[in-house]
Symmetry: D2
Subunit: 125 residues, 4 copies
């Protein structure tokens, strides 16, 4: 009995649902990858706005109300990411796995551990 | 026998793996939600950079090489989104479902369809 | 004899120079406001990247080399801001003065001073 | 009689005013460069939001009302750029001139003119 990979099931199912959502509203015409990339960055800005004047420590201690508000912004980013992947025709789950593998090779545990410098270099990817 | 929801399986599993990736490298100290939100926005900018001088039509016709390059940027955004959700302690799959429902109620098919104005208002969420 | 306002002199002169720079390279065709707004946001992301893993305190103590590197990113944002204003045909110096006045009225000193809450609200503009 | 450079006059004067604005409201404590860079990127996102679903052509034809609305967003970006330069202690007008010179050398008119490829490379700076 073949086992369906869960990752593909979840992301591919979500892609289909968001595609249908756009088709039903005649929105595909607006969803060129260029525009979706903009919308994604706009949502990322809205998400970040909640944190801009907080200290790092404060950002770790949002109350339940704030967590829900900010959580919905995270969901917005997530939804546009999945929508963009669909419009690009890429296999997001597959690329995510490949990217994790690249990161593992680029930042080997024994070399990176405890090295702030290595982490700062991580920033410049 | 209870059925495990695939969505939770995939995202929760990915959250665990990214958490372990950070722990192994002593990177949790850098991953305050504030910083992860910044990193997410930075990746969104890198993704967008590939499209900034292209027409919408050109953005729909990347070649295989470009698709892979840009696809890895999408994966980067995706990974930081999942990492941030984990550090916030939110149930991302659940919030995604709730947000889709909110969007469905906010943009009913029969009112939105064919209305560019409605779509422009969509932009201001 | 009328006195030319310095603000207009500086910004209008800079607008002219950047316009000529684009004309000379046949780049006006790429500089639709939509694209310039994207380029501006991309540069803002590159600027932010330098700070994403630094503490607020570390961000105040860059060395001379870092200050120059990050300073050039600030200059990039500035240049795209002025270029965009030119393509939009707006009087940037005038709008800047109007926005300062709006901010002064919105955040009166005696009400805002010492109120972190007021500042957090400031974040949501 | 010494001639004061207009650029320094305008930007330095604006820096002083924005600094005083923050001091008067006890906001300097929030204005670490890290936070200002975030605020700048957030404003860049708000600016971009107005253009995300417009075609390039539509983005060139905003009406007066829209121009004012979007113009204020451009002013917000501009104000945070100048505020950040002040907190970094850099000479923005000087770096702007240096950056223009760098761009002139990097994109010589006779090599760039009419070359879309060169422009796309420009995108990857």
């Amino acid at each position: 009995m073949p086992q369906i990979k869960e990752s593909e099931t979840y992301l591919q199912d979500l892609q289909s649902r968001l595609r249908q959502f756009a088709i039903d509203r005649d929105w595909e015409q607006f969803h060129a990858p260029k525009n979706l990339a903009m919308a994604l960055a706009v949502e990322a800005g809205e998400l970040m706005e909640h944190y801009q004047w907080l200290s790092e420590e404060q950002s770790e201690n949002l109350d339940q109300q704030q967590l829900q508000t900010v959580g919905f912004e995270v969901a917005d980013v997530f939804l546009f990411t999945v929508r963009l992947a669909d419009r690009m025709g890429i296999d997001l789950a597959d690329l995510v796995e490949k990217k994790i593998k690249i990161n593992e090779e680029k930042y080997p545990v024994d070399k990176v551990r405890g090295s702030a410098k290595k982490y700062t270099e991580y920033a410049s990817d």
